[in-house]
């Protein structure tokens, strides 16, 4: 159970286009208010499951136990050499969507700010899942979270991921016909797990020992 206590302000400001600038006092007050409301409205939930039987064939990765095929060059390269994958999904839940909807009718400034805060928040939830997986498998190396829609992995795969994780029943996460996750502040992702060390490009920040106090991450940049 993950409790969101504070939202990553830098990240939210980056989404709002501040690029390192400090908002004015009036806007800061509104951000504070929106953050408090969002923390009340959201109830973060996540699921993940590890699968260890992978087959690489014709540009696809087949997760054998569940008959799931992840197709595309980018996802194949991402998982190449891994002995297993963790499939995960996370959501801020319907309460966050509802709050943003309310603000859209009553106060667009708050809507835009809350939307950015919520995007930062779901990222935090995913980072917490990363940490949990790290603790669960401390001896192995993990890739960064690869989501449908990245590279040539199509959004069509979302439905299968949700089904495998039983996401609708367990955390209320579903798919719209356009392929959009609902509630909207949600993520699905695939993490490769390897017994041998992976290149920095593939492990990303989650696998880096500097991740908690990296100066690049603070401004939303990356070192590689």
């Amino acid at each position: 159970m993950f409790v969101l206590e504070k939202i990553n302000r830098e990240e939210a400001l980056r989404y709002l286009g501040y690029r390192g600038n400090e908002p004015d006092k009036k806007t800061l007050d509104i951000i504070d208010e929106c953050e408090a409301e969002l923390l009340r409205a959201a109830s973060p939930k996540y699921l993940y499951k590890r699968f260890d039987r992978l087959e690489f064939e014709n540009g696809c990765v087949a997760v054998s136990d569940i008959g799931l095929r992840l197709c595309g060059e980018s996802v194949s390269n991402h998982i190449k050499g891994c002995g297993g994958v963790v499939l995960m999904c996370a959501t801020l839940s319907a309460g966050a969507d509802r709050l943003i909807r309310q603000y859209q009718a009553a106060d667009m400034t708050k809507a835009v700010i809350t939307d950015a805060l919520a995007s930062a928040a779901i990222e935090q939830v995913c980072n917490a899942v990363d940490e949990e997986i790290n603790e669960l498998y401390p001896q192995e190396y993990k890739t960064w979270r690869f989501s449908p829609g990245y590279g040539d992995l199509t959004l069509d795969i979302q439905g299968d991921l949700l089904r495998v994780l039983d996401a609708q029943r367990k955390i209320g996460l579903t798919l719209a016909q356009s392929g959009m996750l609902i509630p909207t502040k949600s993520v699905t992702a695939i993490i490769g797990i390897s017994k041998t060390e992976l290149s920095r490009q593939r492990t990303g920040c989650a696998g880096c020992s500097m991740r908690h106090n990296c100066k690049f991450r603070k401004t939303g940049e990356r070192c590689v």
Partner: protein, 786 residues
Amino acid sequence: MFRKLLKNREFIFLDGAMGTMLQSRVLKAGEIPELLSITNPDLITSIHREYIDAGADVIYTCTFGANSYKLSDCGFSCSRVIKAAVENARRAADGRDVCVALDLGPVGRLMEPNGDMSFEQAYDYYKEQIVAGSDADVIVLETMTDLSELKAAVLAAKENSTLPIICTMTFELNRRTFTGVSVGAMAVTLEGLGVDAIGINCSLGPDELPPIVKELSMWTNLPIVVKPNAGLPDPNSSEYDICPDDFAKSIESLVQYGVKIIGGCCGTTPEYIKRIKESLDGKQCAKRSEIRQSAVSSGENAVKIDRPRIIGERINPTGKKLFKEALKTGNIDYILSQGIEQVSAGADILDVNVGLPEINEREMMITVIKALQGVTGAPLQIDTTEPDVLEAALRIYNGKPIVNSVNGEEKSLSTVLPLVKKYGAAVVGLTLDEGGIPKTAQGRFDIAKKIVERAISIGIKREDIYIDCLTLTASAEQEGVLETLEALERVKKELGVKTVLGVSNISFGLPNRELINRTFLTMALQKGLDLPIINPNVEAMTGAVKAFKLLANIDKNSVEYIASYNDAKPTAEKSASNGAPDIGYSIEHGLKKEAARATRELLSTSDAMEIVNRHLIPALDKVGDGFEKGTVFLPQLIQAATAAQGCFEIIKEHLSSTSGSKVSKGKIILATVKGDIHDIGKNIVKVLLENYGYTVFDLGRDVPPEKIVKTAKENDIHFIGLSALMTTTLKSMEETIKLLHSENVDCKTFVGGAVLTCEYAKQIGADYYCRDAKESVDAARDFFGE
């Protein structure tokens, strides 16, 4: 057969999990278990038999996800899978004293406004299942999390079958479902719809259930069902943590709340059912005292009418120019903001009236109710004189509403009351009939009595009837005021029903109306008024209700009153105009009140259009330039636009009251294209365009191309903005532009959205590509030639 069990048995035992049994034998993660009914019927039948042998009185068919959405690519039709599953259960039940329950779970798509499934679509999915499963003995709707979807399912069951209905929803530790439904909302809505038993299944184990079951027992008289998981799952192994013995012990502790129907959900096996049955052998179901309470509910919250509750009257076009304008241009956000404002001012329930001769009231009522239930948890009162509008609203409303209204005329009684009964609503009864409004209290009491008797005779509960003794204007019929109050008092005491009264009419034609309104409100409350219909934004009125509750010893220890007024600041000082910020400064800094004040002042000396062109737009331009240069950021841009919006509204009102001329610089359609439901970007564009003086026809999200074509033609609009967020919905954008061209709509289009590029915009034939909201304004200026 199920109803006989309900009558004769102390407890009814349901089966345990089907999925768990299948997973342990044949099923892989991600496979569709329902197909085993066809591919391995003997296995399914043998599991049913195991449960029957363990003591189950009711077995659930293996059809939880057997709907045409989830089965779409599997090669078998929904109907075929369901028929096979019911047959398998029938085979197992043959010769045994066991009911077969058609088990139906959620469709798997989220309902509007969270998701993209409409009420009507949900209804059709369930109808198909219910028709196919007609050989079952009872219909079970389980693991539900959204009352809208559950209501669609219940109506599909009621209208296409005569079988009894059991409904169970899935709650979390905060006693709400994933979509925010409270225990009370579930109970009040479902009991109104006339289902046979309600309760809780899945998601939690029996140890977590006592507070939820206890709460449920305080909201309903219906038999209570529990079908919990075998504890909580381990996230890794997915195994559940309670053994059959402990499970049975925990269930025993729930019996004190009157639980009558018991089974197991995920993780349970025949062993669990056997143990529950053994542990309850010889025990008695707790006797429950009858609950008689008046309550209504939204899709989230139930509201008991056990104290004065405020019904907000502002969603109503009568005498409101801006509201009428909003209805005509389809500005739903304006109507929603009226709802949100009233709730934050203290309204418990919102009256919804969208009747206007120029518009299609039925369509508008459906749109407004769907939108309102997406943004407010306050129950709604459906206010219309048209029976077809009323029924359409009652169908799609996701809670238990109030119907406003029925009266003593035969025609009204015979059309409105059956709808109230069918959809499980509460109803306002007006004390008037063919002869008009009786002058005396006795006359109104007689009509009230007739309405109450008639309603009760068709099965509406006394608690669901709210009588309105009708307020007349004091200036015209001064002697009538006390007649109204006397009638109210008698109706309440002698007929035992709740009372409702529109208050504001009393002062019509008199000076200082607020004083009269407030005094009359207090008099009526003292006579027993339960539901004052007022403008909650007027603090004096809302405050009077709060003070009354304190003085009448309803607001115990003055908790609510103190919470409202403890940190009340002295009333805002009237800001002197000397040294006050001017309109430009106020807009640039997003100061709403100051901008509005400055506008009012300017209007006394300057021409309205001059204010728009010389003050408002230059100020917005300055902010817009800053935004482009990266010195002003999105939140500031919107704050400035919102401040300007306030100015525009003042100017619009001024113009319509003085010359009647309009301040519009041109008409624009905005829509998020079909399939796309993320519309924050479009809404930002809307705020900006409106504040540059354009009239925006906002068609909302998930808008079919045909609707855009129709709106453009009907309203003679030539500039159309389309937004799409997803790569998958860019196609709809292209289709919309194609249709506009092929239908020869004389228009230009501007497009925007996260994944859209300039090249793609050109490729699909858009006339303007707008990277952000500011560029939309530039496009509009270019098009309208400024």
